[in-house]
């Protein structure tokens, strides 16, 4: 009898192109999926049934068109069911939910079969149902059936009189241009790729050879042997699968989602800019090699391979569907990783050290949101300080109060000064550092944490005595005047190192103003007016500060200077020098100060020497500044 597909053709095209997204070889995945589903369905009827799948390549040599015969000993199809799966194909385009793959085996079968048209002009299905005959006992129900379909939408069904074992055989005849998909090596490779973990034996037969595809099963399922041997086996599997010698292998399991698998610890520090992806299997069939969001965000140190029996795939089948179940699974898997880290900390401190060298960012990321974890790990975490790199534990042994700065430029500003006075300040600028340090007093309420404001740092310097202040008064007053156009105030304190005449400090706001000034002075009218307005709100109270060092001999001499021009020039030069020391870019006006100042000082020096009988000899100069 002849029938016609009742199909919306647009739907098929959409379907195929959606599948084609990951390449024509998905037809093999679909065949495997159909075979496995059929075996599972049969096992529901006959629990002791042993499933089996065979792929056989016929022809293909000497220019003969190759044929792939895919055989499963699953439940098979009745004639009614054949009509039903075809109907499902017809509906596919109308039903958006379809993409989420109904658990209906028959509908799934039809969709899977359809993808075979990508590589085959004609599909032949020979099938016999293992289902017991229905009460009405219609003819043909338990007999074998042959279905022959063409992509133009026509198909035939006929009854096969000879006796058949229950199950299904699909015959695909290679389409021109698709030969590569029928090559034996390629089929072995792809079948292993998709079905390497399937629980039923799969073989590939060609000529006289028969090759097992999935002899080994999931590596995390292997029992027996010592823990060490199991770990070695997992690492070996990781090496084979990803061609990477991983640092470690962590077994994963979650009862929610029925997930089992392994997390491989990367042997290098990963880039935080890329999302970590994982290889995931759904009911032991490969779902995706690049699933995201399987483990919590902080776990960027692992590459996972897992099988889930009870999670939903997304429509595109690239990942699991984001729902409460996945969220709980993620938590459970995160818990496995967390326990691994706890175990390292408790039992393998040496290994933990190595781990931290690679992955401290992961630990920091977790510690930010997990108090218990924080408590255990924070002392292991490395930080940059003004006195060199050290762990927070080492720091805390020496210093009772945790002092840190939050920004990199602030750290640069104070590093030298702080180091000179043995003040150890942590750099909070790098990823997670500031958050971690802020959190410290929350987790340990009795401990003291202070964010150091670089402007505030100068406040901690030693004040001058009344007499000393008087000595410095004129200098301070001139400095305030000279620096006023640069929105900078002056101060004098005592600090180390003595060779530093002055320290320039800003806070974040003043820093922003400086950067706006860099732009403003080269911009056209439109943008400089925009920048003016943008920064207007900051008002005049945002002042940077130049703090002179009373301990510096040059500064003391300056205070005695009566030549007002020279004094102004010297202050300007100290200001510019302090800016440069702190890596602050000079504005055009500041650059002009530098140029004029240098020329002015040279001229002044020349004049001074010209008025003397002979210039002072090299190497026997009169100390800094060329004093009279």
């Amino acid at each position: 009898m002849d029938y016609k597909f009742q199909i919306n053709l647009r739907g098929i095209i959409e379907l195929l192109s959606n599948h084609l997204y990951s390449g024509p070889e998905v037809f093999l995945r679909e065949l495997l999926q159909n075979g496995v589903d059929a075996i599972r369905a049969r096992q529901n009827l006959e629990p002791d049934h042993r499933g089996e799948i065979t792929l056989e390549v016929l022809g293909g040599r000497g220019g003969k068109t190759p044929t792939l015969v895919f055989t499963d000993n699953g439940i098979g199809l009745t004639e009614d069911e054949i009509h039903r799966f075809l109907a499902t194909i017809g509906q596919s385009s109308k039903n958006a939910e379809f993409w989420e793959r109904p658990s209906d085996f028959i509908g799934q079968f039809g969709i899977g079969l359809l993808s075979c048209f990508v590589v085959s002009e004609e599909i032949v299905v020979i099938t016999r149902s293992a289902a017991p005959s229905l009460p009405d006992g219609k003819e043909g129900r338990t007999k074998g059936l042959e279905w022959r379909g063409k992509p133009n939408g026509t198909y035939t069904i006929k009854v096969i009189e000879r006796d058949l074992e229950p199950g299904t055989q699909v015959y695909l005849t290679c389409k021109k241009g698709c030969e590569e998909h029928f090559e034996v090596e390629r089929l072995v490779e792809r079948a292993t790729h998709f079905g390497g973990l399937l629980p039923y034996p799969i073989r590939l037969i060609s000529g006289n050879s028969s090759r097992p595809i999935n002899a080994e099963g999931p590596p995390w399922r292997r029992r027996g042997g010592s823990e060490k041997a199991r770990r070695a086996a997992l690492l070996e599997y990781g090496r084979k699968t990803f061609d990477v010698d991983f640092f470690d292998a962590i077994p994963l399991h979650s009862s929610v989602g029925e997930v089992e698998g392994v997390a491989f610890v990367l042997p290098f520090s990963p880039s935080l800019a890329t999302k970590r992806t994982h290889r995931v299997y759904l009911k032991h069939m490969l779902l995706s090699e690049s699933a995201e969001d399987l483990v919590p965000d902080w776990a960027f140190f692992v590459k996972c391979v897992v099988n889930a029996n009870d999670l939903r795939p997304t429509a595109s089948r690239e990942s699991f569907y984001e729902d409460d179940k996945l969220a709980s699974t993620r938590e459970a898997l995160g818990q496995c990783l967390r326990e691994y880290l706890f175990d390292l900390a408790k039992n393998h401190p040496d290994r933990l050290q190595q781990f931290i060298a690679l992955h401290h960012l992961s630990i920091k990321a977790l510690a930010v949101s997990d108090d218990e974890f924080y408590r255990l790990f924070i002392d292991w975490m490395p930080f940059e300080t003004t006195l060199g790199d050290m762990t927070l534990g080492e720091y805390r042994k020496e210093y009772p109060v945790i002092r840190y700065v939050a920004h990199l430029d602030q750290f640069r500003q104070i590093a030298r000064v702080a180091a000179a006075q043995d003040l150890c300040v942590l750099n909070g600028a790098y990823t997670y550092n500031a958050e971690l340090l802020e959190k410290f007093s929350e987790v340990f309420p009795d401990e003291q944490v202070e964010e150091v404001d670089p402007a505030g740092l100068t406040q901690s310097f030693e004040d001058l005595s009344l007499e000393e202040r008087e000595e410095m008064f004129a200098l301070l007053k001139s400095a305030d005047l000279v620096l006023q156009p640069f929105k900078c105030s002056a101060e004098i304190k005592k600090f180390l190192p003595h060779e530093l005449p002055a320290l320039f400090s800003t806070n974040a706001d003043a820093g922003f103003l400086r950067s706006a000034e860099q732009s403003r002075e080269i911009c056209d009218a439109l943008w400089s007016s925009v920048l003016d307005n943008l920064t207007a709100k900051h008002g005049s109270d945002v002042y940077a500060q130049l703090c002179f060092n009373y301990g510096n001999p040059l500064v003391r001499k300056l205070a005695q200077l009566r030549d007002r021009n020279l004094l102004r020039r010297s202050i300007e030069m100290l200001y510019v020098q302090a800016l440069l020391l702190g890596h602050h870019p000079l504005s055009a006006r500041e650059m002009a100060l530098l140029n004029e100042g240098l020329l002015g000082l040279i001229e002044w020096g020349l004049n001074a020497t010209a008025s003397q009988p002979s210039p002072p000899e090299r190497g026997r100069g009169q100390g800094e500044g060329g004093t009279r």
């Binding site: 880039s271 935080l272 800019a273 997304t314 429509a315 595109s316 984001e322 409460d324 969220a327 709980s328 993620r330 938590e331 920004h407 990199l408 430029d409 640069r412 600028a429 790098y430 990823t431 997670y432 929350e442 922003f512 950067s515 706006a516 860099q518 732009s519 403003r520 080269i522 911009c523 056209d524 439109l526 943008w527 400089s528 007016s529 925009v530 920048l531 307005n533 943008l534 207007a536 709100k537 440069l580 890596h583 602050h584 870019p585 000079l586």
Partner: protein, 376 residues
């Protein structure tokens, strides 16, 4: 000072490249800019700013993007052969699009910027589509619906070109436009390809998840809204650039009676709102809080225990805040911001938003979210 500052800058840029868009990355790039400027190296200064503008834009520091961009533009004007301006036209969109967010920037200046942009786009051979979009978005932000409609139509008619926003961003903007005009069903229909996952980019779908929350509640689809809230918050919770739609999150959590989640969100992100120079983002966040906090008070929680930063107005060292007091503080700050924006815009659209806000209450639909999951 090291002589090999170029190596140092390149290392900073490389380190930055390895990081996702975050404030640490921004700090590295700022350091690179500073170093380049210190050595008066315009070439590296330009390169570092290029990266900085993107990071600043997508981590919620539009003022830093603006400052760096104006510098690049000036360099392009000074040495057009060395720094061709056409390379700047993509980021010009980000910067021009943020101008309305600063009430201290005048209408005249905004208009001038659009005109400048048009001239430069023409010189670089780009069509006007991207600018029309910016113009209708700006008109919406400044409370001028007629102007917005006019530019929306122009935008729709103008073909896409290489400098148009990506398809996902354009679609997301269409959704926002329709939400603004109260066309909720149409908005959701437009949002569908994004919500289904067939359109996405760096900021979509997160942004769209935020935009559709309230329309969904209004159409009685609270369960769907809850789903997008959860997804969206997970994706966006670490990024300050999301501050502007967290206000809608607060409104949503208020409408659905999820007070403890809302209080957590408020506590966690209030610091960003206080800190940011993007006053429009601050306004949107405060606006959500202004709706949310009185509902919390009504539910019987008269006092909140919050860990807020010291810079927060009304900060208390003991962390105990009276809900009502906090609500009226937020209300006051909303009014101040509304005044600033309305003064700039020359209308009363912000003040009217405040007046109309309580009408939202009639859409209240209790819908308890699961707790203890994914950032909640």
């Amino acid at each position: 000072m090291t002589t090999d500052y170029r190596g140092e800058i390149e290392e900073l840029l490389e380190q930055a490249e390895d990081l996702p868009e975050c404030s640490s990355k921004l700090a590295l790039l700022e350091e690179a800019v500073r170093l380049a400027d210190t050595h008066r190296d315009t070439e590296l200064g330009d390169e570092a700013r290029d990266a900085l503008i993107q990071t600043a834009t997508f981590t919620g520091y539009p003022e830093k993007a603006l400052v760096a961009f104006s510098w690049r533009l000036a360099q392009a004007d000074r040495a057009p052969e060395q720094f061709p301006e056409s390379r700047l036209m993509w980021e010009y969109k980000w910067v021009a699009g943020s101008l309305t967010n600063f009430p201290q920037i005048s209408r005249r200046q905004i208009e001038n910027a659009f005109e400048d942009m048009e001239a430069r786009f023409r010189r670089s051979g780009y069509g006007m589509r991207a600018i029309y979009k910016l113009r209708w978005e700006a008109a919406l932000d400044m409370g001028e619906p007629d102007e917005a409609r006019r530019y929306y139509r122009l935008w729709d008619k103008t073909p896409r070109d290489a400098n148009s926003d990506c398809i996902a961003c354009e679609q997301d903007s269409r959704v926002e436009y329709h939400v603004y005009f109260g066309k909720h069903e149409k908005a959701l229909q437009l949002a569908e390809p994004i919500l289904k996952g067939s359109m996405s980019c760096g900021t979509v779908p997160e942004r769209t998840f935020g935009t559709v929350l309230l329309p969904l509640v209004r159409l009685g689809k609270v369960d769907e809204a809850a789903k997008y809230y959860r997804k969206g918050y997970r994706l966006a919770s670490g990024n300050r650039d999301s501050l502007d739609y967290f206000g809608d999150y607060l409104t949503f959590l208020g409408l659905t009676g999820n007070f403890s989640q809302g209080v957590k969100l408020f506590e966690r992100h209030l610091g960003w709102a206080v800190e940011t120079m993007d006053l429009y983002a601050r306004w949107l966040f405060y606006l959500g809080a202004r709706f949310f906090l009185p509902l919390v008070a009504q539910s019987g929680q008269t006092e909140l225990k919050l860990r807020l930063s010291k810079e927060t107005p009304g900060y208390r060292a003991d962390g105990r805040y009276e809900t009502k007091e906090l609500a009226s503080l937020i209300d006051r700050m909303c009014r101040e911001l509304a005044e600033q924006f309305d003064a700039r815009n020359g209308n009363d659209s912000f003040a009217r938003k405040l007046d109309k806000q309580k009408r939202l209450k009639r859409w209240a639909t209790p819908y308890p979210l699961q707790r203890g999951r994914d950032g909640n």
